[in-house]
């Protein structure tokens, strides 16, 4: 057994320093489309390219609804792709919903370093779930920030939902939420949980969990990288300011491409 101890020590510390400092390791996040100023013609072309209507035409250019973006890169690749992509701090993208301002949904001081999370997969493709799992790997190690996965909703403070909410998962998700003690918050992770993603609204999928549960924090991405989920958790805990999920071209500082 000692070989494992030695191996563990040899490996050293792998954990990111985020949120103390920003993480910049390559390949850790896919980036996000940036609302860009551009001509209406261009804008129209971009909008038709997007399979999930994440891009919306606006006066100044193209607005981006991050809830819908499924990271297909169609607006980023190709010969004529004026859409900017944000590649630094882009993972700090979790936003909040109006729900999260309710007084009785806030976590008191007792929760500042200990939040127990129940993960429910309400029907995703497995990528989001895999990224949630990565939060426990040595690189992200969410325990150091006081986040723990819990086996039962009885001990859970936070419900982390991934997936587009299938018909079959409605009852389990409802039961899990109801079984949690208050105060409790809901973090929806991934485009599918926010808007249905590519699955959209159908006979099986509800097009996101927002209509079904009072979601507090929304983490965009398809899948959101682990750090984005971590940011979402920090936002839910009130330890990080939220980001905007709907980004307007007119707010963009970028010059037109």
């Amino acid at each position: 057994m000692s070989q494992w101890v030695i191996k563990g020590l040899r490996t050293g510390i792998k954990s990111t320093r985020y949120p103390r400092t920003i993480e910049t390791a390559p390949g850790m996040s896919p980036g996000l489309p940036v609302a860009t100023r551009m001509s209406p013609d261009m804008a129209q072309m971009m909008v038709t390219r997007c399979p999930t209507s994440a891009l919306e035409p606006a006066q100044a250019g193209v607005d981006v609804n991050l809830r819908r973006c499924i990271h297909c890169f169609r607006c980023a690749r190709g010969t004529d792709s004026p859409m900017e992509w944000e590649r630094e701090r882009d993972f700090e993208c979790a936003g909040v919903t109006p729900n999260s301002n309710d007084h009785d949904r806030r976590f008191g001081p007792a929760f500042s370093r200990s939040i127990h999370i129940l993960v429910v997969d309400a029907g995703d493709c497995g990528a989001c779930l895999n990224e949630v799992k990565q939060l426990n790997n040595p690189y992200y190690n969410m325990h150091r920030l006081g986040f723990f996965l819990t086996p039962t909703p009885r001990h859970a403070d936070l419900l982390l939902v991934v997936g587009a909410l299938t018909e079959h998962m409605r009852l389990p998700l409802r039961k899990a939420y109801d079984a949690m003690p208050t105060p409790k918050r809901v973090v929806a992770v991934g485009a599918c949980a926010l808007s249905g993603g590519i699955f959209g609204r159908s006979f099986m999928c509800a097009g996101g969990v927002g209509d079904f549960l009072p979601v507090d924090v929304e983490v965009p991405g398809n899948p959101p990288p682990p750090l984005a989920i971590l940011h979402g958790l920090l936002v839910a805990a009130g330890r990080k300011p939220p980001a905007l999920l709907y980004r307007r071209a007119e707010d963009s500082t970028e010059a037109p491409g």
Partner: protein, 528 residues
Amino acid sequence: MPPELLRVLEEAKARWTGKVRPSLNGGDAAACHLECETSELPAICNWLFAERECSFGGLIVEQGTPWQLRYVFYGQDSGWTHVVTYLHAGEERVPSVSRLIYAADWHEREAEDLFGLEFEGHPRLGDFVLHNDVWQEGVAPMRKGFDGSRPVTNREPDLNWKPRRIVEEAGAFGMPVGPVHSAAIAPVYFQLETVGEDVIRAQPRLFYAYRGLEKIAEGRQADDALLIAERISGTSAFAHSLGLCQGVEGLCQVEVPERASWLRVFLAEFERLRHHVAAIAGICESTGLAVSAAQAAILEEELLRISGSLTGHRYLFGMNVFGGLATDLDDAVCRRAAVQIAQVSDKLAVLQGMLSTSSSFLDRLEDVGKVSVSNARDFGLVGPIARASGLSRDLRKVAPYCGYDRVEFEVPQESEGDGYARLRLFFREAEQSARIISEIVQRIPAGRFRTPETALRPGAALGWVEAPGGAALHWIRLGEGGVVERYRIVTPSFANWHGFRLAAENFAFQDFPIILASFALSVHENDR
């Protein structure tokens, strides 16, 4: 054209003179088509499965006038054989072949559930994909008339539904596990039948994550179907999008540039490596050997980051397009990635060495969850799970695509069929994948990374791919204007979940997570 394929054709002609209409199509997608009457179906399928020792690939149902049922088989040397039968509207029943080919069991149950077809002689139908406690019998969402875009409002589910139990013993009870689990695990319900301590039988109830992908793909543009294919299983996204691409490319006779093919192999093997590392991490974690689990998880994250910086996406989404890749990869970047991958592979070898000397770890894997080779064959297991039991069928060898026939590699095989054999197999396949990557990265030719224009045309074709989990089939039928008319996805997890109960029988309760982890099954890939 494999010579064996001709022999299949000749023999079928001789045996069922006048009753089958055999035909051949050549080219890359060489296949023998045997059209027959429904009455001959079981006999012909059984002949292929039992005598010609073909594997059952899947059942493809297409509604139309008439209905078309396509039973796909593939053999080690004979390639593809499709047994096709037609049903006329109003007589929507067909003899079940599951009694002879147990591997077809779930295919028939799915078709019964989603199309409302009747499989005569199948002993257990209903409550499969559509759960009876959510839907009433009689809902057939895959039928053409069914509007898949909006929720079904009239529901009369059976609220008294309870899991089926077959163990009859004094004091036996059915322990429920899931669908919400104690860790970040995909939604699946397990009914463990036990009298305490030892579990007699564990049966999964799947399709909690059924998103109706085959239905929602219909009516969409083919390249949107590609986005759906990537999201069948996020951890095998590249393989499935490749499967669909090959189907469409075969149908539209698109020439994929050499460079694109090589890069596809590169990325497919890269994905396989990552999938297997994740499987190894899962096995380590299930045995409670924390350091090894952490080490494997580090490797998985490193691979995710390599793909992130190589392609922009950690799960290789958005890479495949019809006719090649969506974006070119810089050769230097590829080589750098290959070096990093080789480093990961070395670390993996170290990890394997350490694990193989940790006796407490091995004790928990050896003789756990055994699957015999005959059972593996009967249940139609595929991929690493089948190969760990000594059933070696790999589509990269059986029906090479993407130029795999020009790549030198070995398909590892084990014979014990227990948890340890599966672990070794994951290690060996991961090593093979790393070898392939480092070999071909030197040989990627210059040139275009995609054909400039893909003209989609109507018709149907089969695309196939050896996904990380095993053989995957993608049957695509396009209509005018590149609209998807039918998209049938047969995934390796669907086959292997069917066989999961083989391993989960008469075991100690604490071994359950290990058995589960050693199968490395994807619920999402199964549920679609």
